[in-house]
């Protein structure tokens, strides 16, 4: 009879104190939305910088007089480098075409020339793990030693900038994320605590007639857990809505056609995280509050 009684008691409390409960749910939901917005911004920006980092390339220029054999040897050696995740060979002819496309202005120049002065090259996509200036320099030095390589080009500036931006961004994420997490916990805990304060007398009366701590606490804890879970679910719905809105907006703009991975994402783990955070915070805060209120001996 008792477990059932405690559950029914929790349900009754949720109904009787629906004003407080609603306030608790709304606060929990909104707080988690704030936190969720941040987490999603972080994940999506991280996603984006990942894409940008994939764009960084090292170009290895080959001796214009190098034989086919030498060129394939260079490529073979480059493939063994752990920093190189993808290689693309650009022949002299390709280089000329690309130059004409990229710099229509300056391509007039080429018209007056005999033959193709541009060298063949190998374009290397880099693993993000090797993106810092030092390892990149070492890598370039190594590659330069290979026979048939005239020199190695990469945009030092761009890499420095990106490294800095990424580390700036990570630092910001940690600082702001910590503050938001602490805020979330505090706000939800406080709301639940306040909503229990209004029932201090209830607890005193139950103590008077010999109810144990567990008997008093369990309905409140069930109540807090449900409240937190519903709040978490609500925040999930709101955040899903925001992300869907942006996906639609951006799909309609047509800009990201074919680059689907640049659309905002909503990882499954985030859904789980939100509801679990809500539940745990609801449960934890009510445990703390109710035992806090019971500590006074009476």
């Amino acid at each position: 009879m008792r477990p059932l009684y405690l559950l029914r008691e929790a349900m009754t409390n949720l109904r009787v104190h629906r004003g407080n409960v609603l306030i608790g749910i709304v606060t929990t939901a909104f707080t988690l939305v704030c936190f969720g917005v941040f987490v999603l911004l972080y994940l999506n920006l991280k996603n984006l910088t990942g894409t940008l980092q994939g764009d960084i390339e090292v170009v290895v220029y080959l001796d214009p007089g190098a034989s086919e054999q030498v060129m394939s040897l260079v490529q073979k050696r480059l493939r063994t480098e752990p920093a190189a995740v993808a290689l693309t060979f650009v022949s002299k002819e390709q280089a000329l075409r690309e130059f004409a496309e990229q710099f229509p202005e300056e391509s007039l120049l080429l018209e007056g020339m005999d033959g193709n002065p541009l060298p063949a090259s190998v374009v290397i996509s880099l693993s993000p793990r090797f993106l810092d200036t030092e390892s990149l320099g070492a890598f370039a030095e190594r590659v330069k030693q290979l026979p048939g390589v005239t020199h190695v080009a990469y945009s030092q500036d761009w890499i420095d900038t990106l490294t800095l931006v990424v580390s700036y961004f990570e630092l910001g994420a940690v600082v702001i994320g910590t503050i938001l997490a602490v805020s979330t916990v505090t706000i939800i805990a406080n709301t639940i605590r306040l909503s229990l304060y209004t029932r201090k007398e209830e607890i005193e009366i139950l103590r008077l007639i010999g109810a144990t701590g567990a008997f008093i606490a369990i309905p409140y804890v069930i109540e807090g857990t449900i409240l937190g879970a519903v709040g978490g679910g609500l925040s999930l719905a709101v955040l899903k809505g925001i992300v869907e809105f942006f996906r639609l907006e951006l799909s309609a703009s047509g800009w990201f056609m074919g680059v689907e991975h640049m659309l905002p994402v909503f990882p499954k783990q985030v859904s789980f995280l939100l509801v679990m955070t809500g539940m745990l915070l609801g449960c934890g805060s009510s445990v703390l509050s109710v035992f806090g209120l019971m500590k006074v001996r009476n």
Partner: protein
């Protein structure tokens, strides 16, 4: 049943209890009297563990209440029925829900619980209001619900603080008769009251407090 050894409770200005010692045996019926502020309520609170005395020891059913760990107190209170001056009812719950609570806490079967609740509500004349929230009841009605809740689990010890303060003469007589029946069934009673009629009618041992001192203890057993 109850033994107090030199119990004192001091507040910044005054002593609510000052070196109180007495002993109440199982099956006794003791009436606690005394003027306003004499320490009657404090004495009852000390016995059921809501206040801790500054000095002295209290044994209730051979347990030292002042030293009892917090977790043991609920189990002690389950053997007692307690009626306080400020009716301690859950105002948003119905009469039935309030009175059945001590039985729920002790895990009494639902059918048995229902029977007992109806019995005590009938005894205090409140069985026709079972489904009304106690918050809207009249003072006298609330007082009777408190009495019903205190006796519903047939306590070994009944502590009642001015249980007839809001009742008219006819109801007071009824409640006193009810308490006498319960006493006859073996429950030890400690009853604080101002009502001289109740004192006369209960016809038990009288302890008279004044400014925290026991000044009269008629029929003390030791």
């Amino acid at each position: 049943m109850i033994q107090l050894f030199h119990v004192s409770k001091f507040y910044d200005r005054c002593a609510a209890l000052d070196d109180v010692s007495f002993r109440i045996d199982k099956g006794e019926c003791v009436i606690l009297t005394g003027p306003s502020g004499a320490g009657k309520t404090t004495l009852l609170k000390v016995i059921f563990g809501a206040e801790i005395p500054d000095t002295g020891q209290i044994l209730v059913q051979n347990r030292n209440v002042a030293r009892l760990r917090g977790r043991a107190i609920p189990y002690l209170r389950r053997t007692m029925g307690i009626v306080l001056q400020n009716f301690q009812l859950l105002p948003k719950k119905t009469v039935y829900e309030n009175v059945v609570l001590p039985l729920v806490i002790q895990g009494v079967k639902r059918r048995e619980a229902r029977k007992r609740v109806v019995d005590v509500l009938t005894a205090v004349g409140m069985d026709h209001k079972q489904t009304i929230r106690t918050g809207v009841l009249s003072a006298g009605e609330q007082q009777r619900i408190c009495i019903a809740r205190a006796i519903v689990n047939s306590p070994i010890l009944l502590l009642a603080d001015e249980p007839t303060g809001n009742l008219d003469a006819a109801l007071t007589v009824e409640i006193v008769e009810l308490l006498k029946r319960i006493h006859a069934q073996g429950t030890t009673i400690l009853l604080a009251t101002h009502n001289q009629r109740v004192v006369e009618q209960m016809s038990g041992r009288v302890i008279h407090l004044q400014a925290g001192h026991v000044v009269i203890d008629e029929g003390a057993t030791s």
